[in-house]
């Protein structure tokens, strides 16, 4: 428990000292996969709470919100990012293992967790005239997470900045490819299922 507290505290430290901290979580045992998953879960929970509890002025009017969607899409994004990144960095001499990738990705979400929480609270206090500040917090969160992802990749894989950015671009393409593959597999699976059901149907009709 004490270890966990220390690691979570270290995640906070990471948001402002990314280069040192990403190095430490990889080589100095300052982070763990357990903490990474806790951070990931926290990010998902914050996202769900943001859907449900954002103030009326800034929230969406969607009534039929299903939190399962958020969980599935978040997990999909996370794992497809990790897999695509791992595939590409393996090819381009990255020094990070799959575990390292999972860790730096989840740790990078810390600013999102903090700022989104602030946004949820603030959305219930602010009025429309202050929307700019509310939006700014959102942009800040995105920019910060993006910055951490880049530095995390840079540190974990021992890349140069140019290489990081190129790999980042290809990772995003890789994620799209993974999504396409999954859709295709689903479609083919559906075909197979329907084929088998037709065959069974046919057989039953012939026999009877």
């Amino acid at each position: 428990m004490k270890q966990l507290r220390k690691e979570l505290k270290y995640a906070l430290y990471l948001t402002v000292h990314p280069f040192k901290a990403f190095w430490d979580i990889k080589y100095e045992k300052e982070g763990s996969l357990r903490t990474a998953f806790i951070l990931l879960a926290a990010a998902i929970v914050v996202q769900i709470v943001s859907f449900l509890k954002t103030g009326y002025l800034f929230g969406s009017v969607s009534i039929n919100y299903n939190f399962i969607n958020t969980i599935v899409s978040s997990l999909f994004l996370y794992f497809s990012w990790c897999i695509a990144n791992w595939c590409l960095t393996c090819l381009s001499d990255g020094k990070g293992t799959f575990k390292d990738i999972m860790m730096f990705t989840a740790y990078s979400l810390t600013p999102y967790i903090i700022l989104e929480t602030i946004r949820i609270v603030v959305s219930n206090i602010f009025i429309l005239r202050e929307q700019t500040f509310y939006d700014m917090l959102g942009y800040l969160a995105i920019a910060w997470v993006a910055f951490l992802l880049v530095t995390g990749m840079l540190t974990t894989h021992h890349f140069t900045l140019t290489r990081t950015l190129v790999v980042l671009l290809f990772t995003i393409i890789g994620m799209i490819v993974i999504a396409l593959l999954i859709v295709m597999v689903f479609a083919m699976f559906q075909q197979v299922v329907s084929f088998i059901s037709v065959v069974i149907d046919e057989a039953v009709r012939r026999v009877s």
């Binding site: 220390k6 505290k9 270290y10 430290y13 402002v16 000292h17 040192k20 009326y56 002025l57 009017v61 969607s62 009534i63 039929n64 206090i125 009025i127 429309l128 005239r129």
Partner: protein
């Protein structure tokens, strides 16, 4: 609690409608050739509404006295009388408020004593002092007369008319303001409404669109050839087709020469600037002062662009636009929110063939149908009466009574967001900002919600500010104090100050 439930149902209906999308809208739209009443929701889809007006009766004008009428073109309603203009005969018929024929005006005497008649007149205006203003179209003149036919003024084509290639002056509509200035809409004049002094001198155009040129196109024009320059000259038609004047001397002009593309663009972008508008409310200077606070600007039909041919000025700042292409009447309140739309083209009861003019007599709507040569009279139902009364009470500041009207409206029609805004406003003016916020949320009026919230926050802040500020001060003091204390202690002990790392603070 009850409020919450209603709101939920309202939201659910809205969500359902949004979800099923255009299909549902289309389905409703097809059957709405019947003259049933509808409104638009905030996404611009038609929603059924209780009838606000019901058809009362038709007055057949094909035979009036010993005359047979064929081509009625204009109608003017004063407090005591209703006047109908017949173009082919060149006559004006006078009726009482129950639409019983009284007399007519046919023969006129010019100021020099010679007799004259009208030739295909299209419009007229009866001033409150009894003066008759006639747009004598085919005689190219505007006449000012009394009801005996003694013409006091003849307005002809102005001599000093610059910038137009006007051959003939074809006045079609005329109104006069309370000091006798004459405003004329003439066919093929697209510079605005022609304004004449009470002596008949042309004083200028009002209501012409102000053409603005942005810096980029100004710069580009410097590099254009003459041919290009000629090709880019944009032509903004503002051919008014009808004008009305209200008690405060505001001129209401309708425009039907709008391209469907522009109108659709205005609807889709929810443009409330009034750059493209079929209705303008012009002040003395000719500036459009119409309030457009609805989700959509008052343009009539949101699905197929309307051809607005007349505006009826009703009680309590309500006004109705007459769409001649679908035969519908769209009634807006002073803030530009659509209250109800009804009517249709056809031969069934309450439907018209070729509607040309619309006027209010009290709360009743009078519709002049040129096709059937008749006047259709519509009377407000309980629902319509409630909406009209609510407007009046709200304008008079009787918020409690207005509140009650709106509450009854929501009971009759929970699909209508506007009364919830009204209820919210009433609560807001009473200082019940929490309740107001609830109502605004149903109506999905974020702006008003935000205002109410600001008031609440202000109150809370004035109560809680000393505590919050005190707590913050103590917090900051402790935080800073601790940092200073640690640094001083380290300095005293002679330690090196390191930053970050997390492990050096234990």
């Amino acid at each position: 609690m009850k409020l919450k439930k209603t709101g939920l149902i309202f939201c659910l209906t809205a969500a359902l409608l949004a979800g099923s999308g255009s299909l549902q809208a289309e389905a409703y739209y097809n059957e709405s050739s019947s003259s049933s009443t509808f409104i638009y929701n905030e996404w611009g889809y038609p929603l059924e509404s209780p009838d606000a007006y019901e058809y009362s009766r038709t007055v057949d004008l094909r035979t009036v006295g010993e005359y047979s009428l064929t081509n009625v073109t204009d109608m003017c309603v004063t407090d005591e009388n209703i006047y109908i203009m017949e173009s082919t005969l060149g006559m004006i018929f006078r009726f009482d408020t129950a639409m019983n024929y009284i007399d007519c005006l046919k023969d006129f005497t010019l100021p020099d004593g010679s007799a004259t008649t009208l030739s295909k007149p299209e419009g007229m205006y009866i001033a409150p002092d009894g003066k008759v203003y006639i747009a004598d179209t085919e005689n190219f003149r505007v006449l000012v007369s009394d009801w005996e036919g003694n013409i006091s003024l003849v307005v002809v084509k102005p001599e000093n008319l610059l910038g137009t290639s006007l051959k003939n002056f074809l006045p079609i509509r005329v109104v006069a303001d309370s000091v006798g200035r004459i405003n004329v809409v003439a066919r093929n004049i697209n510079s605005g409404i022609m304004q004449f002094t009470s002596e008949g001198y042309f004083s200028g155009y009002v209501g012409a669109p102000s053409v603005s040129v942005d810096a980029l196109s100004k710069l580009l024009r410097k590099f254009y050839t003459d041919a290009q320059r000629a090709a880019t000259t944009t032509y903004v038609p503002t051919e008014y087709n009808n004008i009305k004047i209200d008690k405060n001397n505001f001129i209401w002009g309708t425009i039907s020469a709008l391209t469907a593309e522009d109108v659709i663009n205005t609807i889709v972008t929810q443009d409330l600037s009034g750059a493209v508008t079929p209705i303008k409310k012009l002040n003395m200077k000719g500036a459009d002062v119409l309030v457009r606070n609805g989700n959509y600007a008052p343009v009539g039909d949101l699905l197929t662009p309307s051809k607005i041919v007349d505006v009826g000025l009703g009680p309590n700042e309500l006004y109705s636009l007459l769409d001649s292409s679908m035969g519908r009447i769209f009634t807006y309140n002073g803030s530009g929110i659509l209250l109800y739309a009804f009517g249709g083209k056809g031969t069934a009861k309450g439907e018209s063939q070729l509607p040309v003019a619309l006027d209010y007599m009290g709360d009743n709507i009078m519709l002049l149908d040129s096709g059937l040569c008749s006047v259709l009279i519509f009377e407000p139902t309980r629902y319509g009466k409630l909406l009209i009364d609510a407007e009046r009470y709200y304008q008079e500041g009787e918020y409690d009574t207005a509140n009650e009207c709106w509450r009854q409206v929501t009971e009759l029609n929970s699909n209508f967001a506007y009364p919830y805004i009204g209820l919210g406003d009433a609560e807001y003016n009473d200082g019940n900002y929490e309740d107001a916020m609830d109502y605004y949320e149903y109506a999905n009026d974020r702006e008003s919600y935000s205002n109410a919230k600001e008031r609440i926050r202000k109150n809370e802040m004035s109560v809680g500010f000393p505590y919050i500020a005190g707590a913050l001060l103590i917090f900051v003091f402790l935080f800073v104090g601790k940092g200073i204390f640690i640094r001083v202690r380290r300095y005293v002990r002679g330690e090196r100050i390191t930053y970050g790392g997390g492990d050096d603070e234990s």
